[in-house]
Symmetry: C3
Amino acid sequence: MINAFSTTFSIETRGIGTYEITGKIRDLVAASGVKTGVATILVKHTSASLLFFENADPTARRDLEEFLRRLVPESISYFSHTLEGPDDMPSHIRMALTRTSESVPVLDGSLQLGTWQGLFLYEHRRHPAQRTVAVSVLGEVE
Amino acid sequence: MINAFSTTFSIETRGIGTYEITGKIRDLVAASGVKTGVATILVKHTSASLLFFENADPTARRDLEEFLRRLVPESISYFSHTLEGPDDMPSHIRMALTRTSESVPVLDGSLQLGTWQGLFLYEHRRHPAQRTVAVSVLGEVE
Amino acid sequence: MINAFSTTFSIETRGIGTYEITGKIRDLVAASGVKTGVATILVKHTSASLLFFENADPTARRDLEEFLRRLVPESISYFSHTLEGPDDMPSHIRMALTRTSESVPVLDGSLQLGTWQGLFLYEHRRHPAQRTVAVSVLGEVE
């Protein structure tokens, strides 16, 4: 039998950085009962993004954040969309350079990910925010 | 009952820029009858891409376009793939830095997107072109 | 009838570069029997990525590789995640700037891709490696 499951959840962020959500997605796949299929994850914002990244050594994520901070600095002088603060336009661009949705094959009830491959919500704004993530899981339940 | 719907549509572009297709995707989800599931969108080209972006203030998109124009300029001297014109290789790279496919959870018959989160076809070539987008919608129709 | 198919396959890489896997994905879609639906592909690593790119002229891919090599050079001095070698942190960032998963609508049993649009596994490490790709195909089989 095929099941179609769809839900949303919220996550509180505390400024620029990566927040792992792999465990939450695994729980939702388990809740769906799907054994063979696909899980789809989307962040419902344009100044936060999704990203698969190594989840073993946090220095790797800090290096990535520093790289993106330098590639898309707040100091760019030609930006005209500045009403929401100097961190807003860089947030949109850093989002555009990473991802909004990801889809993960499910096999034997498990997300098909590598050993140290985690899914992160990447907050690009400086201030704390509540972010919403949408998740659907489709597939065979037996 | 589970339905599987798949189609394509065309869009005429008028040079470099972002063209919103959110409304078209919403129409196709409605046409599919799917209430709980997932919509998948793919642009069938390698010099145009997809991108979720803020759809309220067009200056945000212009700032993004300017950023990518400077990050991947037409003037790069080491490019060897130049037969199709100076805007061709930058188009492929700007596509590579954004997205080709996106998947969106569907809940209660609605695309799960944020209030000002729109899906855009991002044209990277200078000349007008006809672009094709493929869309599938899968899920429970009742 | 709706079918849900999920599997993995391996690919041997021989250093930095792009390795086409479009044919393999087409074979798996055929094996699934799905005529109308969606194929999802994910690379189970954080120092290799996926990318749709032109597959006609290999110079286009070499230009892309050179661009990313210069955008994220091994010589960045502020990297602190350096234990796995100088090519490790650039690999993670080049992965973050391209893609981990892609989803492709299936119509009449065919992947909906453009004529010269191929899917590539993008190896970012210098040494040969065995990479694993997860694939699921969902949809109507008749």
